[in-house]
Symmetry: C2
Subunit: 784 residues, 2 copies
């Protein structure tokens, strides 16, 4: 077992923490976070403190702040957006005979938390002896409903253990919680102090509501709570409210073995448009629905939702329990991030923390949506609709930059560009092609082009126009994209980045094809045949720099001629915290897969030998200082036959947060890397590709994994792929007409729902020996 | 006459303003500013207001402020430095029978100001009728002493004109003056509000002193005033002080024709180290010396100093009175900026305004020092000593960037890097080579290597080490500098910028030679023979990108393949205020001479044909959005035979501030462009070059200039070069041994002090037709 941490036993369907370590509280708050994509609750303790980062988030409920520049420049975004910690409804304080239950005092006899990946609940059991020697047992179970997107609920049970105990429970809504000091690390959110202004507070009996507004962004939110209370004997319940606090107090006496059970229903809503009464009515309705459904009903619906998800999304990894647990943990959190986002962004850290200010990047379309498209396509469609809803802003941004078409923001929450460092922001135009590719993949995988017609064509056309205005043909007719930043942020503002060029060409081609599929939509966008011909000509003539001497592609023009990085001098990782960009950019040092990512996403542009040589070359220069790298390295190392190395990378991607490999899990989980764990297994060892207008597989397992089974959706079918070291079995479980064609190891294969098909797996023989990595960056999970 | 502004008559030895236009007050405040390099006074009106920008500056007396970054990065400077408006001693308020003399009220019957370039004084005559119909005449004369560097003085004369007038004069020292609102233009200084904290104030009788300290930078300054007062009849004089104000009040009655004459002596001092008593004593001594010298003495010394300067620096331009006036105006201000800077920086705007925060750039060594080296070499030596005094800071900066040697700051006042935008700051490494070239030129021109031994070798060695650690040899042995920004700030972070590469190679070679001249100094710096050999090998192998198809040099690798700029779409100049860097950088659009500057400074690396073709190519793509461009374009257009175009550029460089061509003269004068006027004439039409270890001339005049005479110092001699359309006469006026060798039109020429030598001028035949410029950027002074 790889685990170095017995606090988290390796179990297939849950994450369990067997003791409470205050040193790593922030990490647990993120790992055990609950979310449905609309509402997110960090796993802060019920009693509110201690905490590392208190966190309750509503998707896209942001505050704005000015972006400062010591030296301004034309086109720099002036307003930033930050996700804020909204009214905390998780707080349930407990007094044991007047002594507050606080894990820092008295004695914590037992503390266990369990995130159940099939139930979708977080359960906590705490046995505590107060400083006055009273023993109590607290059991709480929390859920953020995947069915009722505005609703969360907590079942809270206190039991007296040895003697009669007077129990006071204060169940609260708390706005404007104190925040920890910001860190010097630029990746951590700008903490906004007291961002909420009280609009209204109201409560009585067992329920209360707080309404607040943000100062600058002028958004309004409401949070409400209601309670069911069960206890033998007399109980007193009262509720009081003030601008930033609502408190329901429950007082009762418990004899040994007696229990107080409280179910707290929470409802959240926000709007930039709707009136305060409308918002109040909305959350009143949500609270009513929650009460009507009841705790048991919410728990049952939650499990039903997840049963359906796992049925078409589960990945089984036999022989590797760590990876088994981690891939399910990752899928669960990816689902939580996207399930009910519903035309809001899926941020880089979901709703699990304030890292990166809560911004969404190309991570969404590039890394998260491929997984959701195959496992929860409706969530993928909603995420794409969110992106399309920002098209007008993207067109304005392009116009501001004197470009045609649309320039989607490098980082944003509500659609406006919030990146304050253009060389790794605006210049990273490739996000536009990632958006286009995600639309195209959705159409291909679902077989449904209604989304394309609804909003996809417009996105494809406007991104194609962007590329067309960015690029130019040189005097020999070759088409170039200059001054761009590819995925690798250690080599920025370069010419002819292969990844960007191939992605742009792909964008141009799929836009052309979409226009032909939807001629009326295209016409309404003013697309002419000449324009389409121009796109295709550019795509055909795209420059792909190749170093003939070395026999490898240049990540960008001239890359293989740059200075080699002195890894003996500068090897404190991540390098960006120890080395200036002015040194990193002109060196052959790579933050994350870039050329290698091009070979994953658009592999048909490369020969097998090129892939092998490119992997070999770039492996030696890639630091994996980005969380978006290990999964891609896993996929391509698997493709070229370095299966054990691929396995190590897959494990790294999957365990990024469980092991806190980037030492910033406390700011939130790395959704792209968690999604990447699925990709590493499915694209890596399953060999799934979809860049040639169909889905193909080329399975090959590393030694340790004896069997890999994954489920996915393809054109309305549910397909199970069951791989071992000799054979692969494809099972088509259901679907529209019972017959579908896929590719297996380069050959067409027809599947029917009548019976599974079993085919042999080809042995994978690497062309080159296993590559090395920069000093200190050999994957920690690599075994020899 | 080119002048479009009759307020400034074209006169050979003065700048005269014949009326007061409050709309362009800021421009006049800069044009008529007085300075000696240590103390600078903007030409604010005696009575303090109205003003555009109140300005009294002490060289290097700065306040610090944090530099904000919305996205931080390793190695970004955290502290900025800004020149601040110190205690204003220029203020002399006047009350005419209780009505304040204010040009905005009553009637200004006459207002004339004259900057006398030989006297070094600013004279003002104002005839004013008060709202109550009293007429007075005010004559003031101001000087900032070039002889006593801490001293300024004002002679202020009030005359009653028609009837008896009660006159009250308030002569003041005013600290923490109100500042205008900052502009959105990034080139304007960050205005610091109330930067001075009072330390001490004291005054009585006719004198007073104010001592202040800056809050963050913790520098202490003192300003003192004393007065001589002459008036027929009774006069009352009193002085009072408060923390930010000292005021001497003079009251008397004047009958028609009677005059009150006040001489105000001002002394300034500041220190980061010395005690407050020491500072007070220092300025008391300065005031005493000024009083002892007296007004007439100060005036006489000022003229004497300037007579000596003009004797070896004057440029006569027959046939072009505008250029005649402008070149002298420019030389005067360049002298004012550097004369008594004495181991302090020469800022880009001298001490004439707060533009660019008062920072010094490569402008100093690249554009100002070549002029001072030939005309006032002691000032040049002091400026180089200033740079050398910051060597330790530059070594620390290099170490911070993981480089060896020294990295001088792109912008600074006291030596620390203050550039907050690294692509046009840190990446502009070429400043280091400009520093090295300035040391080498000083040695070559003066023939004196004591400065080199004193501090030059260390600077040359540490800059050579910087280049050596920045560059690398590729697998074919070619030496490259990647990720650099050359002079052209519209194309940044590029590989193998020809200018930077040639300058670096020059730096490496002169460092190697200096080490051989000063072996003991070199040894003390740890220089080994192997290190020197490495420098020479790098310099020999330097990459110089050339486009064989087009027959021109590439400004940087791949430049001629980049997209052409769409000047029809984007032609609002300067482009940087209307276009984002992300579009400008990857286009063939140039802010300022870059490759063309390499041909000026290191012309022997280029053939005549290359020069002609390069000028032709780059002229078409250069916007001259920087004030550092026209002078260089003048020089190289002259060299390749486009003499009329060169003349237009020379005029543009010279008139930059007199005509406010960049619309920001109110923030301060453009010292590099004013120096560039000299360079345009001397290097352009005189053909002076010094990049091959001697001085050479290749004269050729444009049609309009019938005769050009310039004076300069060469190895202790005073040399006069007298050029007309047929001949050139070289006159060696005095010097160490009466004999020197120069080059004229490629031939050696021996000069003696015995008699002038007259030689013919070669006709200049251009290889190519006169080039065009980007739309809207044909020089406005070009005549056909």
């Amino acid at each position: 077992m790889l685990s170095d941490d017995t606090r988290f036993p390796v179990e297939p369907w849950q994450l369990r923490e067997t003791s409470l370590d205050l040193e790593v509280l922030g990490r647990s708050e993120s790992l055990f976070a609950l979310s449905n994509g609309h509402l997110g609750l960090r796993a802060n303790l019920d009693e509110g403190e201690p905490y590392a980062l208190p966190g309750t988030y509503l998707n896209s409920f942001v505050e704005e702040r000015p972006l400062p520049y010591a030296e301004a420049g034309y086109g720099y975004p002036e307003i930033g957006q930050s996700i804020i910690d909204v009214t905390n409804g998780k707080v349930i304080r407990l007094l044991v005979d007047d002594e507050p239950f606080d894990v820092r005092y008295g004695e914590l006899l037992e503390h266990e938390r369990t995130l159940d990946l099939r139930a979708g609940t977080l359960t906590r059991v705490a046995r505590w002896r107060s400083p006055a020697e009273k023993k109590i047992c607290v059991r709480s179970t929390r859920l953020v409903s995947l069915v009722h997107r505005s609703v969360a609920a907590i079942e809270y049970i206190v039991e007296a253990v040895d003697e009669f105990t007077l129990v006071t429970v204060q169940s609260e809504l708390v706005a404007n919680e104190d925040q920890p000091e910001p860190s010097a690390d630029p990746r951590v959110a700008a903490v906004l102090r007291r961002p909420l202004e009280s609009v209204e507070h109201d409560g009585s009996g067992r329920e209360a509501v707080l309404v607040h507004r943000t100062r600058a962004s002028n958004l309004t939110m409401a949070a409400a709570m209601d309670h069911l209370i069960e206890v033998p004997g007399r109980v007193e319940v009262s509720t009081e409210t003030s601008p930033d606090l609502a408190r329901t107090t429950v007082i009762c006496g418990l004899r040994p073995g007696q229990r107080l059970r409280i179910v707290k229903f929470l409802a959240y809503g926000w709007s930039s448009l709707r009136s305060r009464p409308a918002l109040r009515s909305q959350i009143a309705a949500a609270i009513s629905a929650a009460r009507y459904t009841g705790w048991e009903g919410l728990v049952e619906q939650q499990r039903g939702y997840l049963d359906d998800f796992w049925d078409s999304a589960d990945v089984e990894v036999e022989g590797d329990p760590d990876l088994q647990q981690a891939v399910r943990f990752g899928l669960f959190h990816v689902l939580q991030a996207g399930a009910r986002a519903e035309r809001r962004a899926i941020p880089g850290k979901g709703l699990t923390g304030t890292g990166y200010d809560g911004h969404a990047f190309w991570d969404t379309e590039g890394f998260v949506l491929p997984v959701l498209t195959y496992t929860a396509p409706d969530a993928a469609a909603d995420a794409l609709r969110w992106r399309a809803s920002t098209l007008e802003l993207a067109k304005q941004r392009a116009a501001e930059l004197d470009l045609t078409g649309a320039a989607f923001p490098w980082r944003t929450i509500r659609g406006e560009e919030c990146s304050a460092y253009w060389p790794a922001g605006t210049a990273a135009w490739h996000i536009n092609a990632a958006v286009a590719m995600a639309f195209e993949r959705y159409r291909l995988v679902t077989g449904d082009d209604s989304l394309e017609n609804e909003c996809g064509v417009a996105v494809l056309v406007e991104t194609a126009r962007l590329w067309n205005s960015l690029g130019h043909h040189d005097r020999h007719g070759v088409w170039h994209l200059d001054g761009v930043t590819g995925p690798d942020e250690y080599t920025a503002v370069v010419n002819d980045n292969v990844f960007t060029n191939l992605m742009a060409a792909h964008n141009l081609k799929v836009a052309a094809a979409a226009c032909e599929r939807h001629p009326r939509t295209a016409e309404s966008l003013g697309v002419t045949d000449g324009e389409i011909a121009g796109w295709r000509a550019a795509a055909e003539a795209v420059c792909i720099p190749f170093d003939d001497e070395l026999g490898v592609h240049e990540q960008s023009a001239g890359f293989t001629r740059l200075r080699e990085w002195d890894f003996n001098g500068g090897r404190d990782y991540p390098l960006l915290l120890h080395q200036p960009y002015v040194r990193l950019y002109p060196s052959q040092v790579i933050k994350q897969a870039d050329l290698v990512l091009a070979m994953h996403w658009l592999g048909h542009h490369f020969t097998d030998e090129q892939k092998a040589r490119n992997v070999d070359y770039y492996e030696q220069r890639t630091t994996r200082d980005s969380s978006l790298s290990a999964c891609t390295q896993a996929v391509m190392c698997a493709e070229v036959g370095h299966l054990e190395l691929a396995h190590a990378y897959a494990t790294e991607a999957a365990l990024i947060d469980l092991r806190d490999l980037h030492r910033n899990t406390s700011d939130g989980l790395h959704m792209a890397s968690l999604a990447g764990a699925w990709t590493a297994l499915v694209d890596g060892f399953g060999g799934l590709r979809d860049d040639e207008n169909t889905v193909s597989f080329k399975p090959a397992l590393p030694e340790r994994i004896s069997r890999l089974v994954f489920r996915l959706r393809w054109r309305g079918f549910r397909l199970t792929v069951d791989i071992d070291h000799e054979t692969t079995t494809y099972t088509l479980r259901d679907g529209p007409d019972g017959r579908v064609r896929i590719r297996h190891c380069g050959q067409d294969l027809e599947l029917t729902t009548a019976e599974p098909v079993t085919v042999p797996v080809e042995a994978r023989v690497p062309l080159l020996p296993r590559p090395t990595q920069p000093p200190g960056r050999t994957p920690i999970f690599l075994r020899d």
